[in-house]
């Protein structure tokens, strides 16, 4: 047992036992962030806040949700929406949050791609971030099952069928995933478990890892500049805040984060109260019916680009293309052969690659929702092929990139 002096204040008492002062220094006042950043650097905290909101609203939904195929639909649409005090608010927040979190994730991802924040030394930031993307996707999908409406049921049917592996006919695997021949009670119960326990645990773990990976390589900055953090920190501590290239995470960086969050919350709550339809598909307000497929089925908007990569091809190549699309973003730090850490605008051909990729994914997203007919199919096919061409081209154009 260590020796303890009598503490003169609560702060001191806590510091003796928890080293709160050291924690505060290491995690906040002397956690150095580069000064040369813009609002896009706040997306991480915006995501953390959104995750928090999803967690809290989810807790209140959980109090009245019933994971039972006979009662799930009404427990959401009747009990929560009309009986529970402010139940509708939790549901709208949860639904809108689940959709909008992907918008922020994509902005966060493309910020990383634009500024080269996945390069040498920062590969783990990218990989853990992609892990989070996958975990959030699984979380979104499993959550989509829970109201047990038509879209829940048929999305569950279609997505689990992907695991049959096309002509491999791994129907046993599909049944194993569902615990039934079709999505039924076992399916709903296990996706409920995944949604409220296993995946959130994984997400929390991954968030901790993601923060941890930032610590040693430090956050990137607008110009990809490399500098001596120790020196910059000393300068800051000496009061030369103007000359220093860093700022402390708290309160300086945080003050900007919170302002950006404020702007984001205005948009967020506007959507929650006045424009929630985009996040709560009307078709899912029809109860699940295993004998009737809705006229148009499509995934939520954030899955559309990868769905469209699957759709224009015959079953087997489609599945391979789909699998490729799911993992290829993980490979980004290794496919980008250029040593330059700089915004895309200064990186020659990569600049075009970046905008082409962004626009291609948006086109894929558009086509993914439209009925696969006529001109839309053709555009979808071209966009899907362009997606592959871009990835194949990436190592080549970055290998020949001029060193800055």
């Amino acid at each position: 047992m260590a020796h303890f002096e009598k503490a003169n204040s609560i702060g001191e008492w806590l510091d003796q036992r928890l080293a709160v002062n050291t924690l505060k220094r290491v995690m906040q006042t002397e956690y150095w962030i580069p000064k040369d950043i813009n609002f896009l650097w706040a997306m991480g905290m915006v995501l953390a806040a959104t995750f928090g909101i999803l967690l809290v609203s989810g807790i209140f939904l959980l109090m009245y949700y019933q994971p039972n195929i006979d009662t799930a639909f009404d427990s959401v649409n009747y009990t929560i929406m009309s009986e529970v005090g402010y139940g509708w608010l939790w549901r709208h927040i949860h639904g809108v949050g689940a959709s909008i979190v992907f918008l922020i994730i994509y902005i966060h991802m493309f910020t990383g791609i634009y500024y080269g924040s996945y390069k040498k030394g920062r590969e783990l930031i990218w990989l853990s971030g992609m892990g989070l993307f996958v975990a959030f996707s699984a979380e979104a999908f499993s959550g989509y099952m829970l109201p047990w409406g038509q879209m829940s049921y048929w999305a569950g049917m279609v997505i689990t069928n992907l695991f049959s592996g096309g002509s491999l006919h791994a129907d046993g695997l599909v049944e194993w995933i569902r615990g039934d021949y079709v999505p039924g009670q076992a399916f709903l119960s296990r996706f409920f478990m995944l949604h409220v326990l296993l995946i959130p645990l994984a997400i929390i773990g991954l968030i901790v890892l993601h923060f941890g990976t930032l610590r040693i390589p430090h956050v990137n900055n607008q110009e990809g500049e490399e500098f001596d953090y120790k020196e910059a920190a000393e300068l800051y501590k000496a009061g030369k805040v103007k000359e220093s290239k860093v700022i402390p995470f708290s309160p300086v960086f945080l003050s900007k984060d919170i302002f950006v969050m404020g702007v984001y919350f205005i948009l967020f709550f506007y959507l929650v109260f006045y424009h929630f339809g985009f996040a709560m598909d009307p078709v899912n307000f029809d109860p699940a019916d295993g004998l009737k497929t809705p006229a148009h089925i499509y995934p939520e908007w954030y899955f559309l680009w990868s769905y469209e990569i699957l759709r224009p091809f015959p079953t087997d190549p489609g599945l391979i293309a789909f699998a490729f699309a799911q993992v290829i973003f993980f490979m980004l730090p290794f496919l980008d052969r250029s040593p330059n850490v700089a915004p895309a605008s200064r990186r020659g051909a990569f600049k075009f690659w970046f905008w082409a990729m962004l626009i291609d994914m948006i086109v894929l997203t558009f086509m993914g929702k439209l009925p696969p007919e006529g001109i839309w199919s053709t555009i979808g096919l071209v966009a899907a092929l362009a997606f592959f061409v871009l990835w194949i081209a990436l190592p080549i154009i970055t290998k020949t990139e001029k060193k800055l």
Binding site: E83, V84, G85, Y86, W90, G239
Partner: protein, 178 residues
């Protein structure tokens, strides 16, 4: 760093913090409301019981708000033993007296059993006893069985609504609000 800048920073930080706390209170209010019993639960809190078919010294068990309700029509013989004070516990309809009470021991909430020969209730959990008017006769229960809010409508009782007879019982301290 000049002192007045620092002052301004602290002030703005505190203003923001205070305002955020205000929002937090709003959110807590919504959370509290979410935790409240549902309107359907509240609406289901009324039960109508017809006392006409009750027979002397035969215990009837009903259900109200998920709890057992004891109804015991008192026989002439039973009434002769009842003091004026305990009589206040009984509900009188057309000259007949009824004991109506929540069938949960006021000690720790077990259901006492009725012995018609002995004309008394015994709670098996801790040995508490009540007489036929549900007044306590043996500790540990601190008081007789609680009487649910009721309103008399002819020969029927509406449990959950408060009538003048029940209000009188509350005023006399005969029972506690349930």
């Amino acid at each position: 760093m000049a002192n007045n800048t620092k002052g301004r920073r602290d002030f703005m930080g505190m203003a923001l913090g205070g305002f955020t706390a205000l929002g937090g209170i709003g959110a807590l209010y919504a959370m509290k409301r979410s935790w409240d019993p549902l309107p359907s639960v509240k609406a289901a809190g009324f039960t109508t019981i017809d006392l006409a078919p009750a027979q002397d010294n035969v215990l009837i068990t009903e259900k109200w708000r998920g709890k057992p309700i004891f109804i015991l029509k008192q026989s002439k013989k039973m009434m002769s033993k009842v003091s004026d004070e305990t009589k206040k516990r009984l509900i009188e309809i057309n000259g007949a007296h009824y004991m109506v009470a929540v069938g949960l021991c006021t000690h720790l909430g077990c259901i006492p059993g009725y012995d018609p020969t002995d004309e008394s209730f015994l709670c098996a959990c801790h040995g508490g006893m009540y007489d036929a008017t549900a007044e306590v006769t043996k500790a540990p229960p601190p008081r007789g069985l609680d009487i649910p809010p009721f309103k008399i409508e002819g020969t029927k009782l509406v449990l959950g609504e408060t009538g003048p007879e029940y209000e009188q019982m509350l005023a006399d301290g005969t029972t506690m609000p349930v």
